[in-house]
Amino acid sequence: MTNVVFIDWMEKELNIYEFVKAGNDYELVDTRSVSLENGFSPSVLDSLFEEKPDYLYVSLPLDLLTLREQSFPFADKEKIQDTIAYELEGTLLDSIDSYSIDHVITETFDDSSKVMAVCLEKTKLQDIIWTFSSAGLNPKVITSIDLWLYGGKGEDFLGKPISDRSVRAETARKELDSPSINLRKDELAYTGDVEKFIKRIRVTAVLLLVLLVLIGVFSTLRLTSAKKENRELSGQMQALYRKVFPGEKKVIDVGRQFQGKYNTLKKKKEALAGISMLDILLDVALKNDRAATFHELNANGKNIIIKGTAGSFEDVESIKNSFAQSFSTVKVTDSSSSADKKVAFTIQMLEKKL
């Protein structure tokens, strides 16, 4: 619900019409009057409201305004507004730049129009705005409902204003819907909505900044913890590397250096190590379990080939399984029974590499 107040400034009094905007309609909720016998001042306005209205419309009395009737060879409102100042040049007491000017189209013909120019000295307008703002009020529109009441007809402007409050209140309601004129223009234009909007944007921006700062703090903590973990891991790797290679002084990339050293050592070991025949013999002897007799053993660093005879094919399989515990890729490459009912076999296998 938006509270909208229309102040109808008459010669000797201020009529205050309080409306409530519900949807697109304005509903009159209160009407009161304040005397202006002591003149129009902030102290009069101060006492008007307990709670400041959301929007304030002000109607000025005709005697504050300067009215000029003009004819235009067109009826376009915007075009008239653009050119009216030039048309009024010389018809006003002062320069047109010192006036705030608006207009009401009083009569429209096929290709022309009659216009009532409404002028108010900017100094006067500024004083009026200042008086309101001193009371904490900021009029959104400054109009004159008398222009409506007289239908914009010049000859009737000399008459006294209609004082029937219900008529004036209804006219004020119509002004809220569509102000006939608004003298707050250019540098004196109403900026209340913009200010409200800016205030809201500021609050949003502050909240957004707070949120961003929180995200920033979280992000920084995440980075700090990752860097700490990085230092710890690098330290652990350096320590492990120095433990394995204590003589090494220059350690730049532990992973790469370790892999390089390891590969070199493997190649050196391959070059230096021969076949450990004693170990092979021991393994072969321990796994045999007297199930077979071996006749030949060959080892060349890659394959170990054993030839022998066993009592049965099952014994050959049993020997093969026993060898599998100490050697890898054990397979019987040849087995055949001989005339003496024994089974001759050849087993091929590889040394288990650690």
Binding site: L209, T220, F258, A273, I275
Partner: protein, 171 residues
Amino acid sequence: MNDLIRKILFFDKTISVLTVLSLLVIITIIVTSIYANETKSRNKALRGQLSEINALASGVVGTKGFVESKEKKIGMRKTKGVVSTMQQTLTSLDLKAKTLKPLDKKKVLEYLEENAELEIESTDLNHIVNLLYNIESSPIPIKIKSTSIKTSFEDPDKFTLKMMLALITKG
């Protein structure tokens, strides 16, 4: 509306300052996030490397010890040659070679392999084991490249031993 936006962005100092600050914070967030993600992926790689090195460490220490001990043997003394060295060993074990002849020399990495062929006939398993033990525990860096042990046809307790040996020196 455009005027309003222009007014808000360019003429309201508070909003301008807040906008600039927000942009700075956004840039900081982006930069720190990128850097944190990079560091996290580096950490992941480091953790992988560390566990790999941990798993390899004991094996590497063993290999290193083996290589160092062999290199120490190589550097310790000047050997006479593979044939005379083996002849000395055979004599000490009261063994006689049917064949003991030098073969080619071959460079492997930083080492020089002096190869030889040895054949002993009609020997028992005990002598073979003693010979192998002497070779493997010898302070002279000799490696066995291949071995063939066969029982003899006449006596199953007697063996024919053929070996390819290599004396390793600094190349």
